[in-house]
Amino acid sequence: MEWEVVIGLETHAELATRTKLWCDCSTEFGAAPNTHTCPICVGMPGVLPVLNRKAFELALRVAFAFKCKVPPRTFFDRKNYYYPDLPKNYQISQNYCNTGTEGHIDIPVNGGSKRVRIHNVHLEEDAGKNIHPERSDADYSLVDLNRAGVPLLEIVTEPDMRGPEEAQAFMETMRRALLYTEVSECHMEQGHLRFEASISLRAPGAAEYGARVEIKNVNSMKAVTSAIEYEIKRQTRILNEGGKVARETRLWDDAAGATGRMRSKEEAQDYRYFPEPDLIPVTIDDEMRARVMAAVPELPLARKRRFIEAFGLPEYDAGVISDDRRTADFFEEALKTYDNPKAVGNWIMNAMLREMKQRGIGIVELKPKPAQVAALAKIASSDRINSPAAQKVFTIMMDTGDDPEEIIRREGLEQTSDSGDILPLVSKAIADNPKAVADFKSGKASAVKFLMGQVMRMARGKANPQVAEKIIQEELGKM
């Protein structure tokens, strides 16, 4: 029997703040263990947390970006559980009043888009890391608290995804959205971005959801997808054999490619949430609302759609240009100088992004400004320079950041369309190449190409090829 797959995802994203959520320690990744710590983030007696306002505003930005409802006042709660990487043995999080609720994100599905509802967006502190020695006879474990207290955003969806493909699309869209909103660097390998899935199956058309299985320990998007696929098979088998799926938490074993039971619902931890008395509620007043709202960008999928609809870009081009926020910003900025989306888009896609890739640089290190790239696109669309010359101008712009006009003048790249300049060259080419003339007369079209080459060589590439070809045809026709 076919079952309907129901998937919900939790996204954990480390926020890109310079300092931790409750203290001034650095959030930098990769430092020697326990060097980015202080009495506050190691949870010593008597210390108190002070909210990093920047982190809160980033969380708020995400809530707004996903069109969440945002309360006028929010607060933090303690989530109590014991683990060595959590030195206070409680995590400061949000439970009773989240930063955002009831939002949504659109994900691309089968050429269209699908709305996934966001249950809530909330801010919490990350935990440290337990390190277990590889020696099997070791009688100790180590704890690195560099990550303890790093601001972590949790985004919880409703169970709106219906298969591993949608989950995959969600994760990619979420990652891009978080990059776009500039709240997280989203380096998966540095643990900036983590996902957890919950999966259930139900008979198609059933109103109730089936028993939900949560999967932990999935360290990459690929692992999430694999774990989902495994769970679908496992649960399908149980249901088809007439069994019942247990509501439980399972751990993904990447090497084995399987999930294993971690704890049942009955064993679920009671986190004993209560309002964090060491912090005061955060008031989200009109000023903060307006300021944070102003920093919310259009999300990539919406922008892509607009590029297609408003600018007439082909779907592929719109996708490439909108993929990275700064590239898309560059594009739109360039349009202010030259309002020809197709031409500007081509230059960005075919010249700029390619050169950036070759040179291994990002858009921040790019020398040409949007107006300069636009100016070149405009010049290249006229007959002032030819295509190879335009490519040459672009390469020089990448090296120097000089204006295209300046480069054209300096390099003498402007082409001539003046028949008075071109005619003597054509006449000389015809005079010098009687064989070509004979070929032309015997019907070989390639003779024109040959003569074109001669003319362009004499003009050192600056003759307008259309004009030159027209004159050659005319002169040969007279003979």
Binding site: V47, L48, V50, P87, R272, F274, P277
Partner: protein, 485 residues
């Protein structure tokens, strides 16, 4: 009269005018410690004598050069052992923190140092400030200087006993449900519980975070105002500290203003020792005679205060004390096989019985399925108690009643009956639940010579009015010859 017996304000004047040196003051206090400590046992740790004298000398040199020595210049001050002092072990009188030396100062300790005060030692207390007699200390038994067979009160019993025995000129304690005011009353000294947020909690080892406040224990009201002046004020390291100007408390204590005094009928009823009640009423009579208006007020929800307090404080404590697990610092059980055993045994061996009782109470109150019935309900009643006070302060400037139902009780009297011990705080917890400032000052003695404490509470951030009233009561009592330490 020994120098150690003088008040901080007197000594301050004498030091500044060159009548005495800081060395003489320090020597007198250290000699008193030597003499009385074998019985009183107020300190868990007194600092090295030579080092303290060297610091007194340094202040004297500064003073001789005409430099500013600070408003606490050279005064020997004791600090309760739940307030972190950099490089000086801070244990909360608990085995679980027996080896803990903080690498940082509490904001109050830093402010005392900046004001020129000299920390002379850390005082005994009920373990993690949980208790009303200091008998719950995991370290030692402190005795009431007025009667060594009796408790000094708690949980700041060490600080109160140190000041009452002149083993310190002033001291700091912490007050979650009465832990400064109740021992002050039982030891015949002055104790203040500031408005919640008036004094930074940074570096105070938390018991009930939403109730804890650090406050002074001193020989008179002016000394309390002096120490409050130093420790009050906004601290960016404590999000709950209030960003507001600090009035001149010293001046307030000297103001003579006729105030309206409210007597809450709920705090003069059943369970109140008649001698204590009479002493407080006599003091109110002096105020009335001096021109103050006296009205009866009501705190209708006060009857729930002990229940509400033990739910709120224990819930927070169950979470605050979770960090003592043997993992990162403090006591760790030997010979454990796994992490869960390490947690269980370290905590079982490290905490005393009262602390365990409260962790269990708090854990229960926060548990899934019980949260609404206990914690949420308590939070609502807490709000009602605040509103009761607001209504009372619409009719009067200050609320006066006894600090405790009885004077100091005998050592061991209540150790077998936790509930009887909890009821010691019946008149003090409401101020913590409402977050308002309150002071206890001695108003007389029982026929057997035990001190009696009078409690004055004022509206939120109303320390100014509180000190005005306390100063006035103190002057009237002195004129009437009712009190002398």
């Amino acid at each position: 009269m020994e120098l150690a017996q003088k008040t901080a304000c007197e000594l301050k004047r004498m030091i500044q005018t060159g009548q005495v040196s800081c060395r003489e003051v320090m020597t007198s206090v250290l000699d008193t410690i030597e003499k009385r400590e074998p019985v009183v046992q107020a300190y868990l740790r007194a600092l090295d004598r030579a080092e303290l004298l060297a610091r007194a000398d340094a202040t004297d040199k500064k003073n001789a050069r005409g430099e500013d020595i600070g408003i606490l210049g050279g005064l020997p001050i004791a600090i309760k052992d739940n307030i972190c002092t950099k490089g000086i072990s801070t244990t909360c009188a608990s085995k679980i923190l027996g080896n803990f030396i903080p690498p940082y100062d509490a904001t109050v300790a830093q402010r005392i140092a900046e004001a020129g005060g000299i920390v002379i030692g850390k005082t005994n207390m009920d373990e993690f400030a949980m208790g009303s007699s200091t008998e719950n200390s995991g370290m030692k038994l402190t005795r009431n200087p007025h009667d060594p067979e009796r408790v000094p009160g708690g949980s700041s019993g060490g600080s109160a006993a140190a000041v009452a025995a002149h083993e310190a000129v002033m001291a700091l304690g912490s007050d979650t449900g009465g832990s400064v005011r109740q021992p002050a009353a039982l030891c015949g000294i002055v104790g203040v519980k500031p408005t919640y947020g008036r004094v930074s909690r940074f570096g105070l080892i938390a018991f009930g975070s939403s109730l804890d406040q650090i406050g002074p224990l001193t020989k008179d009201v002016s000394d309390a105002a002096l120490l409050m002046q130093v420790i009050s004020g906004h601290d960016p390291k404590d999000s709950t500290s209030i960003n507001a100007d600090v009035p001149d408390f010293m001046e307030c204590a000297g103001n003579d203003r006729n105030l309206t005094v409210g007597l809450p009928r709920e705090f003069f009823g059943e369970g109140l020792d008649p001698e204590v009640g009479k002493s407080v009423k006599d003091a109110v009579g002096l105020l009335e005679k001096a021109g103050c208006k006296v009205v009866e007020v009501s705190l209708p929800n006060a009857g729930y205060s002990i229940a509400v307090y033990y739910i709120c404080a224990c819930a927070e404590a169950s979470s605050n004390l979770a960090r003592y697990d043997g993992c990162h610092y403090g006591y760790r059980a030997e010979g454990v096989d796994n992490i869960v055993e390490m947690y269980c045994r370290s905590r079982s061996e490290g905490f005393g019985p009262e602390v365990k009782r409260r962790i269990m109470l708090g854990t229960y109150a926060l548990s899934s399925g019980y949260y609404d019935a206990y914690y949420m309900k308590a939070a609502k009643v807490r709000k009602l108690i605040s509103l009761d006070y607001e209504a009372a302060f619409a009719k009067c400037d200050v609320v006066i009643h006894p600090t405790t139902p009885t004077p100091a009780f005998k050592i061991g009297d209540k150790t077998e009956n936790p509930l009887a011990m909890y009821l010691c705080d019946i008149y003090t917890v409401t101020a913590n639940l409402a977050g308002i400032p309150a002071i206890s000052l001695p108003c007389g003695r029982t026929s057997s010579g035990l001190p009696i404490g009078l409690h004055i509470a004022a509206a939120h951030m109303g320390e100014k009015t509180m000190f005005e009233a306390a100063g006035k009561v103190e002057r009237l009592l002195a004129e009437a010859g009712k009190w002398k330490l």
